[in-house]
Subunit: 586 residues, 2 copies
């Protein structure tokens, strides 16, 4: 062992001890006859001191020779520090060096290993091994480690078994695009990497494993949006002999356990619940951020039929009340209008009404709405003097989605989205199906194994789009942490579902035959849930971005710029796989 | 919830309680006016009873309608059992059914869900979801779950952090063959699936993570030998600021913890250690089974130069003493001769000498060796009356390997290989390099990042094949559980190593440039170890075969016969990837 102590564990009670530490040189302060060095490892930072007359000249020279990020082993004696540093956990002491052993030198790093470092993402990613030295990044990965371990401890304590499912599976054209793996031993054939262990965990329920979980990598070959990764991690769970209530309670327990053990945060009472329909109506989102209110208000009754064509032609006129924003300047309001008109939001305009302190209103549609009409708006919006009413209109789905974005934007502007406040919310009763305009058929909103609600069975044949599913999501702070469903465990119902989704018998059999066969041999009622692990940890860490919580993330083109991957294969590798690539330009 | 209790938790103290259980029908015994059903779930087996006049006729009829593997929910009252079954944990009680709720019927399964089932492997694998219902298989996967959780708890307790490394990485022609993944977003380019996270864990040491572990899937596209899987699981570990001794102690601690917590087995004292050279000399194997002795005895001094050409021309004449086998019949001896002549072993013959009870010897080479000469053999072999000396000869490496097989075979025949006895052994000082006849160059015996022993540095330039490495394996019961090394952390030494291995500068840079660059920025001394997790759990379970410890294994052609994978891709998938396959027959 190169050390008796790490750089974070020495304290005043160690004064007088002979110790050996090892780590990286964080900083040096050389005053000529005295030199201080901060030595860093994963556990902390400790000050080394060398002074003329106190240490040998050789030691002093060796200390002076150390540059930033040099790796060094220091022997010495723990002494009391003259100017104590209460910000350092080892700040009461320092080590008087008696021997210096240089373990490895370092070039000058391309950026400094500091908490805040102002360099481009590309450079940080190329030198990710240096970026990973920074304390904020290490703290994020420590949190990730802690959350994964506590997840396992909790699930084990309630009888879940971790079972590893295979990574080399079979491609299913349904859903997102698969990454595939050519098989050398079966020329012309391919494995697929799993988008999730869905079918395997259902088979494990058929096999009587009762409670399964796995923290597992999943893969989706999608065009990467910001903060999407081609490989991502799930906490994947399934339970048998349960209904929806059992699942919600079990995983609410897990989330509470994780926040308590890893964030020292206790939730009061049960997580609130809301139906999908209500969430869409009130927040225009199936993952509303309920750290703040600002619920949607339907203005159809008070805003339509007043001769303002834009409203009259709209399916929905919807408002939010930005409390206390009545003083917004012309410039601020224009900026909001520009913001909603950006192509990412896509609104054609934004209408406002300020609630002045004198009880009057000032709106952008004064021509069409007199003070009385605007007072009506204020009344239904519960707006008071000093508030700002913001109104969008259009087709219901689109305008809700736009208003959701505006609401979140206002929440951020108004400082209502504290990353250290956590607001969980179960969303229930998702629709079973959604209509896909492009393919002209229904898609499963969750996935094809999700069961419809019993009370909606009659609608399957008449109004399939009205059928609600036993499907649920856990949202927190405007983010979807996870979701799941009670599955179909009946072969006939599963076959009917495939039919609804436009699968032919042959297609269903080719892709999911083994699962449907398994259902013939005593499948228990079952259901489950999967959490996006990267997203969960990022949310717990108070961050919007998952990338920092992944040790070696890929960029938006799916490249790892550090190892320079993907890359062309050697010709003999291609030959062994009986593969050729076509030049995409041809 | 479909149950108040699982099928394994009811006891005499529950008598009189109204309960609900759910599970699979294991067996039914129908005596007309009374019917018993054993209901099964993961937790156990419980007896349900229905009797005319005691339960309603409807319940009785419903019970009679239940077939094997039907899934059913039973309400009833816990009653004392008339004929208690001490073999069942719930054997003191039974449930008097008051309501039967059929949850799912089952076809007659293709084999019975019993502990022992005499059907072919192919059928079991096709219906793996039914095979997985059998208790011995469930017990194996439960052990696997337990071992993985205890591994994590232990490593966490000694400051290891689990860090997930990427699955979509870069292909390196060195070593075994990679599985590759075409990149749609980077046409003509490929990711590779990791054979191990080796370079990433070394980068994490450069990044200051100090102690890393991961239980992680790895992939090797090798021609499958029996009991090899294309995807397998490793406990992958790395530590900084350590020497070999620290690593051995840390992971000896892990193995002891796992056996104690998961097998209730305590090892006495430290694990024995042996150099690679000694292991090859004494056992002809770098993973000797030391549950029994039967060490090799070099007979060169007493067997050569006696006019027996076969011995005289051999580099090595080597014997083992099969204690107490002196009574082996002619037939048994012939069988042994045939056994060593099989192509898998490849010996040209086997010579024996029986130590008779009267002090005389009977050998297959009596013509060349008189009683005195044979007495010399017996003396060096420490053979006594009743023992059997078995002798092989030939080139040293080959004959050692053959004798290793024979020794293990005799150990098995003689009942010396009890799967519930565990004999760990550290093997140290592996050679750094091995000569590859085919390519005419050195290969790294462990991997190219392994450091040579300091005391052998001088040999690098003169006799590279004599250089020993800081490399070690943990063997147990004739199996390699894991291995590792202290790594090179110096860029120059790493470059020299690549040179020894026949890499050009360009090749080394193209494949491992990022690692060598990382070594320029303050790489600490580091080393690590990886355990084959499948193999570890199988050994702990007392089994030779890893396949049963994997929930969904592949067959020897790399196929999953249950899901029928790999399979051809749809043409549009191929097109999106800019790929075509070549017919291998062309």
């Amino acid at each position: 062992m190169y050390r008796t102590h790490n750089c974070g564990e020495l304290r005043a009670q160690n004064i007088g001890e002979k110790v050996t530490v090892a780590g990286w040189v964080q900083t040096t302060r050389n005053k000529g006859n005295i030199i201080w060095i901060d030595l860093r490892d994963r556990y902390g930072l400790i000050q080394i001191v060398g002074e003329t007359g106190v240490v040998t000249d050789q030691v002093l020279e060796e200390l002076k020779g150390l540059g930033r990020e040099y790796v060094v082993q220091i022997e010495g004696e723990v002494i009391e520090r003259y100017d104590k540093n209460p910000k350092m956990i080892t700040g009461d002491i320092e080590i008087k060096a008696t021997a210096v052993n240089l373990l490895n030198a370092s070039l000058v790093p391309p950026f400094e290993i500091e908490d805040d470092v102002n360099v481009g993402e590309e450079l940080k990613m190329k030198y990710r091994y240096l970026d990973l030295r920074r304390k904020p990044v290490q703290d994020k990965l420590k949190l990730r480690h802690r959350v994964s371990l506590e997840t396992r401890k909790y699930l084990d304590s309630v009888d879940f078994m971790e079972v590893e499912t295979p990574y080399l599976i079979k491609s299913t054209p349904e859903g997102a695009r698969d990454f595939v793996v050519p098989s050398r031993m079966n020329p012309g054939q391919f494995y697929a990497l799993p988008q999730s262990p869905q079918t395997f965990k259902q088979l494990l329920m058929v096999s009587g494993y009762d409670r399964y979980y796995q923290i597992v990598k999943c893969f989706r070959d999608e065009d990467l949006r910001a903060d999407r990764q081609p490989e991502f991690t799930q906490i994947d769970c399934e339970m048998a002999f349960v209904d929806q209530e059992d699942i919600l309670n079990t995983f609410e327990g897990l989330i509470k356990h994780l926040f308590k053990t890893c964030r020292n945060h206790e939730f009061e009472g049960d997580f609130p619940r809301m139906t999908y329909a209500e969430a869409m109506e009130k927040y225009g989102s199936d993952k509303p951020d309920i750290r703040f209110e600002m619920e949607f208000v339907n203005l159809n009754a008070v805003a339509k039929g007043k001769g303002f064509g834009v409203f009259d032609n709209a399916e929905l006129v919807v408002a939010i009340n930005a409390k206390g924003c009545g003083e917004y300047s012309r410039k601020q309001l224009d900026a909001l209008v520009d913001w909603v008109k950006r192509p990412q939001i896509g609104a054609t305009g934004l209408i406002y009404s300020k609630c002045n302190e004198d009880g009057s209103f000032k709106s952008s549609v004064d021509k069409f709405f007199d003070q009385e009409a605007l007072a009506q708006w204020a009344s239904v919006c519960k707006a008071e003097a000093g508030d700002l009413i913001l109104v969008l209109c259009g087709d219901t789905d689109k305008v809700r989605s736009q208003m959701n974005e505006l609401r979140l934007h206002m929440g951020t502007e108004m400082g209502l989205r504290d990353p250290n406040v956590f607001a969980p919310l179960w969303i229930l009763d998702f629709p079973l199906l959604e209509w896909d305009e492009e393919s002209g058929r229904f898609h499963a909103m969750h996935h094809p194994f999700t069961s419809p609600k019993k009370e909606d069975f009659d609608l399957i044949d008449t109004e399939p789009d009205k059928v609600r599913a036993n499907a649920y999501d856990l949202a927190m702070n405007g983010v979807e942490l996870g979701g799941g469903s009670i599955r179909i465990h009946n072969k006939q119902l599963q076959a009917r579902m495939f039919e609804l989704l436009g699968f032919s018998d042959e297609e269903a059999k080719a892709q999911f035959g083994f699962l449907m066969n398994a259902f013939e041999y005593g499948a228990p009622p079952h259901g489950g849930l999967a959490f996006g692990f990267d997203r969960l940890v990022a949310t717990m860490g108070g961050s919007d971005s998952i990338r920092d919580y992944i040790a070696f993330p890929k960029n938006n083109s799916g490249r790892d710029v550090m190892i320079d991957s993907p890359a062309p294969l050697a010709k003999d590798q291609m030959d062994e796989l009986f593969l050729t690539t076509i030049n995409p330009k041809e």
